[in-house]
Subunit: 416 residues, 2 copies
C-alpha cells in the first residue's frame, strides 16, 4: 500500500482558540492509518506483549481506546516477530481491529542493560512504573547491553541468550509485527551521561535514523501487498536545547511520517524540551510523547504539541489496586473501602463504575482474584483516555486552560 | 417472597423418549428462581469467591452459563457475609443478574481439616482439582476442623482465626449471601471412614438437616422482604446402598426445595449411587450433583437423574493452559501450538474460538499474561455448558444415547 494511507491533518490550533495559547504548539488533529483514524490528542494504551494486561480488546474499545501500542523487544523475544507476521500482523494476532503502534525496542534493549530509568514522572514510585516488570531483573546485575556504532548486543531477560539489534533488524522486526506506526531504532541516553557522550550518541541516532528509513523503504517495497506502516523518527538530545533543536531539524528533514520525543526528560523541563522540538519539527507531521500518563504531564505534553502519548501506568498501578479519581490516585486495598458500595468514581461512565462497587473490587483484590486487575485497569484506562479526550474537546472550543486549571487543581489537591 | 417463587417442572423423561432409558431417572426440566429460569440438565459454573476466576460475568453469560455457584465458607471469611447482604446479595455484589447458588461451606470447612479429597473423578490430577487452591494449605498440617454433634470448630486458612459453623450459622450466612439456592450444612465423610462412623455421621447430618430447615424457615419469615431462597438437603451415605436410600427417604420427607447428592463417591459407582438416591427422592424436586465436570461423569449424572452440576475444573485447568476439544483435554503450553493459527477447537462458537488462535493464547500463557486464563476459561466453560445443553436437547428428541456414545467415544479415544 502507498504511504498516502498514513495521513495527519491538523484540526484546531490552541493558539487559535484561546489567547493564552499564543506561542504554544498544542493542536487537535486526525491521524489516518490503514486500520482507522485516531482523533488527537489521544492517549494510546499499552499492550506490551500484544495484550493489554488483564483486559480484553473489546473492553479497551468500550473504554474509548483508539489505538494500542506493543513492544518490539518483548514480541521479538517471544513469540518471535515471524509468528506475528504469519498471523497477519499484531492487530489480527491480538484481536484488535483498530490502529496499532510498536515501540522500537530500543528503550528495553538499553534500559535492561544500564538500569536506566526515565525521570519524567512525578516521583520515584511512578518513575519505576515506566520500566517493565521484566526490566527490573537488570537491577544489580551485570550490564546486559553493549552499544557500538552499528547496533546493540543484548542479552534476553528471559533465558540469557545473546541477541543483536541494528537499525535494519529493528525495521525488519517491526515490519513483521505489522503495526500501523513504528518507531526508528535510537540510542537512549540518561541525564547522567556527559555532554560529550550526548553529542556522540545523538550523531549515532541520526545515522541510525537514516539507516532505518532506507531499510523501511526497502521493506515497504518488498512487502507492497501489506498495509502501509508509518515510521516515526525519535528525537533525543537530553536536556540540551541545541541538541534537541539539532536532532529535530536533522530528523525533521528526513522522510519520516511522524516523530517521537523520547529519552531523558526531567519532569520540570518536559514542556520546555517538547517546545524546542515542536519549534523545529515540521508542523504537518504528528508527534508522539513516549511514556506519559500523569495528568500534569499530559497537559504539559498536549499544550506543547504532542499529539499522542502512551504509558503502562493505568494497568500497572491497577494491579497494585490503585485507581484514579478526580481528587488523585487512591489505593483500593485500604480497609475503608470494605463497605464502600459506591463506584470507583462517581459519575464515571466506564464499565467498571457502571457495574461494580469499591467494596466488591476491594474484596477481589484481597482475595487475589484476577478480575480485580481487570476491573481497575478498565477504569484507569478510561480515566486517562477521557482526560485526553476532554483536553481535545477543550482545545476545539477554547476552554483548554479552564479545563486544565480545574482538573489539575483538584487532582493534586486531593491525592492521598 | 413466598416459597412458590422457586419452582421445578419436569419436561421430558429419558425413559419416555428412548427405550434404552427404561428404568433410568434422567429428565429435562425447568427450575424457576426469583432471578430467572434454569433449563435442566444444566452445568452451573463456579465462582467460589463471588467471581468466576479471570472471567467477567458478561463473558459467562455469552458462554451460555445459566447460573453461578459461590462458596459460603470463602465468602464468610472474606469479605464477610454481612458485606454481601449490605450489597444486596451475591448476584448484585458480583454483577450477575441470573440465578445463583451457594455451597454450604461444609465441604471446605471439613476438607481443610482432614485433607479429604473427593474421589469421584477419573484420576488423581483431576481429583485434586476439586479441592480449592487455598484448601491445599491443609495438606501435611495439623487437623484444622473438629466436629461435634452441634457443629464444627474450624480454623481460617487465611489467618488462623478460630470459627464455629453450626447448621443455624450456615443458614444465617447463606441467607446473608442471598443466593437463590442454598445447601443444608452436612457432615462429609470419606471412603476411609468405618461403617459405624458413616452411620453416626449420617444421623448427625439428618439432625442438622432438620435444624437447617427450622432456621431457614425462621429466617425466611424474618427477611420476608428479600427474594425467596430455596434450600436443598444434601444426601450422604458414602458407598452404602442402605444408608444412601435411608438418607434420601429421611431428607426427602422434609420440607426441602431440592437435594444435593454429595460426599464420597467413587467414580465407578457414581451412577449406581445416584440411582439409589433418585429412586427414593421425591421426583418433583430438582437434584444437584456436587463437583462434576468430566464428560463421562456428566453423562452418568444426567441419565441417573441429576438436574444440575457444578465444578471448578473448567477454570482451574485453564489456568494451567489445559483446554477441552472433542478429542480430549489438551495442554496449550506444548510447543506444537506455537504456530498453530487455528482456534482452540474447530467449529466452537465461543468468544475465544471465534476471535483468537492457539498460537496467540500459547504466547500469552508463555508470557504469563492473565488474559490466557481468561480466554481458555471462557472456552472450557462453554465446552462443558454446551455438552450438558446438548444432552438436554438429546433427551428431548430421543437421541441421548447416540449423543453419549459419540461424545464419549471420541473424547476418551483422543485424550492426550
Amino acid at each position: 500500500m502507498p504511504q498516502s494511507d498514513f495521513l495527519f491533518s491538523i484540526g484546531k490550533r490552541l493558539s487559535e482558540t484561546t489567547a493564552a495559547g499564543e506561542g504554544l504548539h498544542g493542536r487537535t488533529g486526525t491521524i489516518t492509518t490503514p486500520h482507522g483514524e485516531i482523533q488527537t490528542p489521544a492517549f494510546i494504551a499499552v499492550g506490551t506483549k500484544a495484550t493489554v494486561k488483564a483486559v480484553l480488546p473489546e473492553s479497551m474499545k468500550e473504554a474509548g481506546a483508539q489505538a494500542l501500542l506493543a513492544n518490539a523487544y518483548h514480541l521479538y523475544l517471544q513469540p518471535g516477530a515471524d509468528v506475528l507476521d504469519e498471523a497477519g500482523g499484531l492487530g489480527k494476532f491480538m484481536n484488535w481491529d483498530g490502529p496499532t503502534f510498536t515501540d522500537s525496542g530500543g528503550f528495553q534493549v538499553m534500559s535492561l542493560g544500564s538500569g536506566f530509568k526515565k525521570v519524567i514522572t512525578m516521583d520515584a514510585a511512578a518513575a519505576s512504573e515506566h520500566a517493565g516488570a521484566d526490566d527490573r531483573v537488570a537491577v544489580g546485575k551485570e550490564r546486559l547491553a553493549h552499544i557500538d556504532d552499528d547496533g546493540v548486543w543484548f542479552v534476553s531477560h528471559l533465558n540469557g541468550d545473546r541477541h543483536r539489534f541494528t537499525p535494519e533488524i529493528s525495521m525488519q522486526v517491526q515490519h513483521q509485527l505489522g503495526a500501523d506506526v513504528m518507531f526508528a531504532f535510537d540510542e537512549l541516553t540518561t541525564l547522567m551521561n556527559s555532554r560529550g557522550y550526548q553529542e556522540e550518541s545523538l550523531e549515532r541516532t541520526r545515522l541510525w535514523a537514516e539507516r532505518c528509513i532506507a531499510e523501511h523503504e526497502r521493506l515497504t517495497t518488498e512487502r507492497a501487498d501489506k498495509p502501509y506502516q508509518a515510521l516515526f523518527g525519535v528525537i533525543q538530545g537530553a536536556q540540551y536545547e541545541d541538541l534537541r533543536r539539532k536532532a529535530s531539524r536533522d530528523l525533521g528533514a528526513m522522510n519520516f511520517d511522524g516523530f517521537g520525543v523520547g529519552g531523558a526528560l526531567e519532569k520540570e523541563n518536559l514542556g520546555t524540551i517538547l517546545g524546542w522540538c515542536a519549534d523545529e519539527l515540521p508542523e504537518a507531521k504528528p508527534r508522539h510523547l513516549l511514556g506519559i500518563s500523569e495528568p500534569d504531564d499530559l497537559f504539559t505534553g498536549i499544550e506543547n504539541g504532542a499529539d499522542t502519548f502512551d504509558c503502562v501506568s493505568p494497568t500497572r498501578v491497577a494491579r497494585n489496586s490503585a485507581f484514579y479519581v478526580p481528587d488523585g490516585r487512591w489505593n483500593l486495598s485500604n480497609a475503608r473501602f470494605k463497605r464502600d458500595f459506591t463506584p470507583l468514581m462517581e459519575g464515571c461512565d466506564c464499565y467498571t463504575c457502571t457495574h461494580y462497587t469499591r467494596a466488591y473490587i476491594h474484596h477481589l483484590f484481597k482475595a487475589k482474584e484476577m478480575v480485580s486487575a481487570t476491573l481497575i485497569s478498565i477504569h484507569n484506562e478510561r480515566f486517562v483516555i477521557r482526560m485526553v479526550d476532554d483536553a481535545r474537546a477543550a482545545i476545539e472550543d477554547g476552554t483548554y486552560f479552564d479545563l486544565k486549571a480545574e482538573v489539575l487543581g483538584r487532582y493534586y489537591a486531593g491525592a492521598r
